[in-house]
């Protein structure tokens, strides 16, 4: 088990180097000059001479050859130094620390929405397969998957904040355990979680259906075990195995889908920050944000794989 985890971490490190290379190259190949974006185009105070801009470029080390810049960056990451944002002059680690909790909170809440909707719906459908209830439930689930999240977001905001005035339209009122925080979390979590709910509900249904058709379930039923118990104790546990794997992947989608939802709801998370940083070509910020999201995603997937083993006794890692 421990060896498995160590191996996974080694693979992860290798993957992350690749991720950093992709980000680094993309940003440097992308049109748009980070230094130009720093110097004001507002004309109020006179000229911004070319030599001044070139001096700034040299100060940020952006005049060096690409490989040199990349190696220097890797070296810094290895020393856990993420550099400073060109735009704000604050340490990137500082910037990420301020936004990371908000993104994780949103992703977890969206996941809770997804799971909370998916399991009851998926189970009901599986217990009455091909009934009207089943097809209605599944239609709603597919509808959830088919809605663009920004669309859902605006709709929710118009209804609950603008017309009914029940919830604050946007922002983050505080951490989720405060009432203000909870009130601002509801709409973004639903907008983000709806898609995941649809996918999970269908998966719960199909995987439960499959398990319910297996011999041991039939045996349990034949033995007169109450249906409730059959489903809850015997079937559900096994049906969970594929669902859990997908949960990990879903979490990744939620992390990235947050980009759009965070923009709509002015949610102070990493996704919105990163898209802004890409737009401004704030190289260190983009690299570090992608790194933060990728590491989170990888850790969640590792956790899922371990959970997988715990759920399914047939799987052993060595």
């Amino acid at each position: 088990m421990l060896r498995y985890v160590i191996r996974r971490i080694a693979v992860l490190a290798l993957t992350l180097v690749g991720v950093l290379a992709v980000v680094f190259l993309s940003l440097h190949l992308a049109p748009g000059d980070p230094i130009s974006l720093l110097v004001p185009t507002e004309a109020a105070g006179g000229l911004t001479p070319r030599e001044f801009v070139e001096r700034l470029r040299a100060q940020y080390g952006l005049d060096r050859p690409l490989p040199v810049q990349f190696v220097k960056f890797l070296g810094r990451v290895a020393r856990l130094d993420l550099g400073r944002s060109m735009r704000t002059n604050r340490p990137v680690a500082h910037e990420l620390r301020a936004r990371y909790p908000a993104t994780i909170e949103l992703a977890v809440a969206a996941m809770a929405v997804a799971v909370g909707l998916a399991f009851p719906v998926g189970m009901l459908s599986a217990l009455r397969p091909y009934s009207l209830l089943d097809s209605t439930a599944m239609s709603v689930a597919v509808a959830g998957v088919s809605l663009p999240s920004f669309w859902t977001g605006f709709l929710l905001m118009l209804i609950f904040a603008f017309h009914l005035g029940w919830l604050p339209p946007s922002g983050r009122g505080g951490p989720a355990w405060t009432l203000d925080g909870l009130r601002t979390l509801v709409m973004p979590a639903i907008a983000l979680g709806a898609g995941g709910a649809g996918i999970l509900a269908r998966l719960v249904r199909s995987s439960l259906l499959e398990v319910l058709g297996l011999d041991y379930v039939r045996t349990a039923r034949a033995k007169g075990v109450p249906e409730r118990r059959v489903v809850m104790r015997h079937a559900l546990r096994n049906a969970l195995v594929p669902v859990v794997t997908v949960l990990g992947l879903q979490f990744g989608y939620l992390l990235s889908g947050a980009v759009v939802v965070e923009t709509v709801f002015a949610w102070p998370g990493i996704g919105r920050y990163m898209v802004g940083a890409i737009a401004r070509r704030d190289v260190f910020v983009v690299q570090s944000s992608v790194l933060a999201i990728a590491v989170t995603f990888a850790v969640v997937n590792l956790a899922v794989d371990l959970l997988y083993a715990a759920l399914d006794p047939r799987i052993r890692y060595d």
Partner: protein, 516 residues
């Protein structure tokens, strides 16, 4: 509270021939102390280090915390802030400032001439990486004369030096700078009416009243800035009462908001929206084609549809209500027939799909467009199509777009200039090939010479003559498609009083209050 300028700078009073109305909201009733004012801003504050940011929005926010030696009042005049008065030597290269006494930084240390020296030197120190530093390029030395007098020597005459002192040169506490070094930005201490309480990036900047403010105790307990980037969301926030004030009100929504008893403050017109021609690329090197395009554009429709009337049609690129306007230049009317005729003369004849052709080449222009100006670009595309010019709109994200226009990968390039006051050089200095944001691609030595003369000349009448010529030359050669001078809109909920919005896109809140 803000003091009178001295004789030498009285010329700036001419500058004041600007704004007819001062957008300030007050009305009857005395200021009431207490309460919080929440402002929904388009973007977050970039940095709380006063010397480390660039955008107008950041200035709007940090200028609650920090002050400069001088500022522009709503009439566009320079007024002393931390300086009580100033004096410019006869040779125009020594500026002496008498500083306000009994001013304290938020950390309790006193404001002195030494602080001015430390700050100005920090701005131009390359290690600070201050983005505006290029504008203080003329500054040679800062000398502390006594505790409350400071003398600044310039390398050369520079009419924009006062402007440079206004724009990048906020004065922060030297003690705090020493204590926090590179991380000063997380412990801001200025002299402004509000001081920092907390800051959560992309979430909120919370400021509290500076009880010891030299300009009098501000009525508001607290000012909160919240970045709400999405336009629709920002409007919902305002109307549902989540925020009290919003910036960047879309022009199209102003009337609707007013109908709902929201106050809309209209400022500015001291900016310019226009398209530059890539003068290096045929057929735009042909003045007839440039004139034809200018005649093909219906600026009245653009002003009505895109700006909903919150803009002034641009004739010469300089706001018609500014002191240096050349009223003799008439510009280009909307005249599609004249446009067609000019194109015909230039050899562009109607071809397939009524797009003009010359020697088998279609008249096709590349128009990179930033995503926030898509509406304007599409209208222009439609108008040019009617005279037989095809355009390719390349909607790109801002970074790519700025780069395309700067490096000449365009035919028609949208450009915006936010100036905030009537100084004419600021409207035309993009014609200077030394400028990083030089967009014309083809240097124009005569205009450049005029511009250089303009910033080295002190006499207002002489300056007016120079900029008259600049406007004349640009119009005669149709070097630019001037579109409009848009206005900037703030919206305030009905209970917000006493907010002043000078054309420089600041938000003066030290006399604001909320009625309940």
């Amino acid at each position: 509270m803000r003091s009178r300028p001295t004789a030498r700078s009285l010329f700036w009073v001419v500058v004041a021939l600007l704004v007819a109305s001062v957008p300030a909201v007050g009305g009857p009733g005395a200021p009431r102390a207490g309460g919080t004012l929440t402002v929904g801003s388009l973007v977050d504050v970039e940095s709380l280090d006063a010397h480390h940011h660039g955008t107008a929005h950041t200035h709007m926010m940090v200028s609650q915390i920090y002050e400069q030696l001088l500022d522009l009042d709503p009439q566009g005049r320079y007024i002393g802030v931390l300086a009580e008065s100033w004096n410019i030597s006869n040779d125009g290269v020594t500026y002496t400032f008498r500083l306000r006494k009994n001013v304290k930084f938020h950390d309790g240390t006193p404001f002195t001439a030494e602080a001015v020296k430390v700050n100005l030197e920090r701005v131009v120190d390359p290690a600070t990486k201050a983005r505006y530093a290029g504008r203080l390029g003329a500054m040679q030395s800062v000398q502390v004369v006594d505790d409350h007098t400071v003398a600044i020597r310039l390398r050369r005459k520079d009419i924009l030096f006062l402007e440079a002192l206004r724009s990048p040169a906020y004065i922060v506490s030297p003690a705090a700078l020493r204590r926090h070094g590179k991380d000063y930005g997380t412990h801001p201490a200025g002299t402004g009416p509000f001081k920092i309480q907390s800051y959560a990036p992309d979430d909120r900047l919370v400021l509290v009243r500076n009880e010891d403010y030299w300009g009098g105790r501000p009525p508001l307990d607290r000012v909160v800035f919240r970045p709400v980037p999405e336009q629709a969301t920002r409007l919902v926030e305002l109307e549902s009462g989540g925020v009290d004030v919003i910036t960047d009100v879309p022009h199209k929504d102003a009337k609707t908001l007013e109908a709902r008893r929201i106050q809309v403050l209209v400022t500015g017109g001291f900016q310019a929206d226009y398209y530059v021609f890539n003068l290096k690329r045929p057929p735009l090197d042909d003045v007839r084609v440039r004139k034809a395009i200018n005649h093909a554009i219906d600026r009245d429709t653009l002003t009505r549809v895109v700006y909903r009337g919150y803009a002034i049609k641009s004739i010469t690129g300089y706001p018609p209500n500014g002191w240096a306007i050349n009223t003799a230049v008439k510009g280009y009317d909307f005249d599609p027939e004249r446009a067609a005729q000019l194109l015909q003369e230039a050899g562009w004849k109607p071809g397939a799909e009524s797009i003009r052709e010359k020697g088998g080449t279609r008249l096709r222009l590349h128009m990179p467009t930033p995503s926030h100006q898509v509406l304007l670009a599409q209208l222009i595309q439609g108008q040019l199509r009617r005279v037989g010019i095809e355009t390719r709109l390349d909607m790109t994200e801002a970074a790519t777009y700025w780069d395309a226009v700067r490096t000449g990968k365009f035919d028609l390039g949208y450009w915006v200039r936010f100036v905030g006051h009537a100084e004419p050089s600021a409207y035309f200095n993009y014609f200077d090939s030394k400028e990083h944001w030089f967009t014309m691609q083809q240097p124009h030595p005569e205009i450049e010479a005029l511009l250089n003369e303009g910033v080295a000349t002190i006499d207002p009448a002489a300056r007016k003559r120079i900029y008259d010529q600049v406007q004349r030359r640009i119009a005669d050669e149709a070097l630019v498609i001037w579109i409009t001078h848009p206005k900037f809109l703030f919206a305030l909920r009905p209970h917000v009083k006493g907010v002043v919005t000078p054309p420089s896109l600041r938000l003066w809140l030290h006399k604001a209050w909320v009625e309940r």
